[in-house]
Structure formats: C-alpha cells, structure tokens
C-alpha cells in the first residue's frame, strides 16, 4: 500500500463524514440535495476502494441518479405549493428545548458508542462465509460470487427485496393524489440530439450490466437502476407520457419479476429438492431468466416510483391547482 493511497483513503473517509453532516445542516434545501448526490458519489468511490465493485455500481446507479431526482421532485412539489420553511428567508423552525436537544445528542452518542464497542470487541478479519461460497461456486451456475449469493445461495432475500419494491409502488399509488403536473416544454434541439444519441446507448449499457452480472460485477439491480434512470429522463422531458390506459400493462410489469421469481422457486421444488435448489446444469439459464424478468420489473417500478401518482383522471378529489 503506497503512501498517497493511504492519504487518499483518509481524505475520502473524512470527506464522507463531513458531507454527511453538511447535508443535514446546510440551510438551503437545494444545497442539501446536491450534497446528498455528492455523498452518494463519494461513498461509491469508498466502496470501490474496499474491493466491493458490485456495491459501488448499485450505489452509483441508485444513490446518485435516482435518489437525487426523487428528492428534487419532492422539493419542487413543496416549493410550487408554497411550503413554509422551504422558501428562501422563511421563518426559522420552532426552537427545541435544550433538555430535549441534549437528550437527543446523548442518546445518539450512547448508541454509536455501544455499536463501536460491539464492533471493536468482535474479532477483526476473521474468515466469514467466503470459503463456503468459494466451495459452492461451481454449483451456482455463475462466476460472480455476489450474483451467486443474490440469486442462488440467498435467493429468498432477493425475492423479498423484489416484494419490497412492489409494496413501495402500491404505497405510492395509494397515497399520491392531486393533479398531474403540466407537461414540460421541450428542452430544445440540443437536448433532443443528446437524447437520441445517448439514451439508446445508455440502455445498451444497462443491458450489458445485467448480462455482465453472471461473471463480473453487475446484475439485475444495477442494470434495472440504469434502465430506470433512462425511463426517468423520458418521463421528465415528455418523451413518454403516462396514460390511464397504460395502467394494466404497468401492473403486469410490476409483478412480473416477483411472479417469475416465485414460480421458478416453486417449480424447481419437488423431487426432493428445496425451493431454490436449481437442477444441475440449468442453474445459469434459470438465474438469467429470473434476472432478466426482475430487471424489467425493477426498471418499470423505479420509473413509476419517480412518476408518483397513478396515471388516472381523478374526479373532483383533492385537486390543488395553484
């Protein structure tokens, strides 16, 4: 380990902590969001340094692109409807009694100290499950250990994760009401040229990330997040307009991943096998099938999560036309 890299790690770690604090404390809400995007950027760099490129890819795609856009959309919504506290120069929030503030700080310190003791007390760098995973790799059907864990050894976790995404879109469609935003005016010819050139190329990169997941870092979540970012740009710039008639298709695509995942689990169970014990020789095919369908579901669900409300004409209920 050469000396500059040690300084690099130190500076990066300090910066991550400082930006986390600054993002919560900075007064301007817009600065908060940009700082948060930069936080995602730097944590992805840190994960690369910690030899976790799969995690770095997921954070790069989700933490920087999608989260930033979601936060901006919410801020825009609050500002457009004149929320106190978000306007420049608005009144300060109610002061917190000193006792409560110190209790909060004390509680946080106690939890962090407890965690620190627990971490320091546990033996560092013991062997975890990497040897067990390495031994089982030939059976998994893929060459990337992280994909093997996600879709084979611990596939239940991943199935539940897809279910969580489904739950999130159900919540958002139930909760979000109010008028549709006015369609955005075009961003001009330069943007159109850029979109025509870049978006298809970016879609190919998304598919590549999915495909590469079998032997290199990448996989369904990274690829899906990449495709969702493209969907989000299509939505934002009016290249795609959700229509009430699209709801049935959208619902089908939301559940596609979950259904396919669960169906494979049930179909391979039988003849004395457990539910995710893929038959020998078919593991790779099944994993790629699941991953492909799950990627579609993830991309569509994340795009819909960004869009927010169900595309339907609500009649007379809670409309907020400014």
């Amino acid at each position: 380990m050469s000396e500059p890299l040690f300084l690099f790690d130190l500076l990066l770690a300090l910066a991550v902590v400082a930006i986390a604090a600054a993002a919560l404390l900075v007064r301007d809400a817009f600065a908060m969001i940009v700082l948060f995007v930069v936080f995602g950027l730097l944590s992805a760099l840190a994960w690369v340094r910690l030899a976790a490129p799969d995690v770095a890819l997921a954070e790069a795609a989700i933490g920087t692109g999608l989260t930033g856009a979601l936060l901006l959309k919410t801020l825009h919504h609050l500002r457009a409807r004149g929320m106190a506290g978000w306007e420049p120069g608005a009144a300060a929030p109610r002061p917190v009694p000193r006792a409560v503030a110190s209790l909060n700080a004390g509680l946080t310190l106690a939890v962090v100290a407890g965690l620190g003791v627990a971490i320091l007390g546990s033996p560092l760098r013991v062997t975890g499950l990497e040897i067990a995973v390495a031994e089982a790799m030939p059976l998994s059907g893929v060459d990337n250990p992280v994909t093997a864990v996600l879709l084979n050894f611990r596939a239940y976790d991943t199935l539940m994760e897809v279910v969580v995404l489904l739950a999130a879109i159900i919540v958002v469609w139930q909760v979000e009401r109010g008028a549709d935003a006015a369609p955005a005016p075009s961003l001009g010819p330069i943007w159109q040229g850029f979109a025509r050139l870049t978006l298809p190329a970016a879609a190919i990169v998304g598919v590549y990330l999915l495909w590469a997941g079998a032997e290199a870092p990448g996989g369904a979540f990274q690829g899906g997040a990449m495709l969702a970012a493209i969907g989000l740009m299509l939505l934002l710039t009016g290249l795609y307009r959700p229509h009430p008639d699209h709801r049935a298709t959208a619902r089908l695509l939301f559940v596609l991943g979950t259904v396919a995942f669960a169906a494979v689990a049930l179909l391979v169970a039988g003849a004395g096998r457990a539910s995710f014990e893929y038959p020998q020789g078919h593991a790779k095919t099944l994993i790629l099938l699941i991953e492909g369908l799950v990627t579609i579901s993830i991309a569509v669900t994340l795009t819909a999560l960004f869009h927010g409300r169900e595309p339907a004409a609500l009649k007379g209920e809670l409309r907020h036309d400014p």
Binding site: L187, G188, I190, W191, F194, V205
Partner: protein, 97 residues
C-alpha cells in the same frame, strides 16, 4: 516510454481539473463559471482518458474508456447548454428559483 507519455497526459488532465475548480470558485458569475468548468472538465477527462487508454492491456478496456469519455463529453456539453439556457431564462423573468 509509453508509460511516461501516459503519466504526462494524466498529470496534465489533473491540472485541467484543478484549473476548472479554481475557475468555479473564483469567477464572479454563473456564465463565467460555466465557461471555466465545461472546458476544464471536458479537456481534463479526455487527457486522463487518453493516458489511461495507453496503460490499458485489452481492447475491451480501451473501448470502455472511449465510451466513458464520449458519454462525459456529450453530457457535459448538453448540461452546460441546458444550465446556461435555464439561467438566461431565469434572468429574463427576474426569478431566482
């Protein structure tokens, strides 16, 4: 020899990034800052990409680096344009948000 050239290119690219950041911090208004940084990061990343491509061992890596530089250059130019357009509209309407 090749690695010497790569080192020089990468170092020069880093200098452009430094210059761009200084411009971003020191120039008085939005349009000047935009001017400084679109040039700086476009050129800086291209130089670093060229240097890295000289170090690359395989065709796949070179293709990836070329793609990265192409994406960054395209989105840098487009974003610079969008921001300038947006800022000019904002000035015209006298809005600040």
């Amino acid at each position: 020899m090749i690695s010497m050239v790569a080192m020089v290119l990468i170092g020069a690219g880093a200098l452009f990034f430094l210059a761009g950041t200084i411009g971003l911090l020191r120039f008085p208004d939005l349009h000047c800052q935009l001017h400084a940084l679109t040039k700086a990061d476009g050129l800086g990343l291209t130089l670093i990409g060229l240097g890295a491509a000289l170090l690359a061992g395989s065709v796949g890596d070179i293709a990836r680096i070329a793609l990265i530089c192409a994406f960054a250059a395209l989105s840098g130019a487009t974003c610079g344009h969008l921001i300038a357009r947006h800022a000019r509209r904002g000035d015209a309407e006298g809005r600040d948000v």
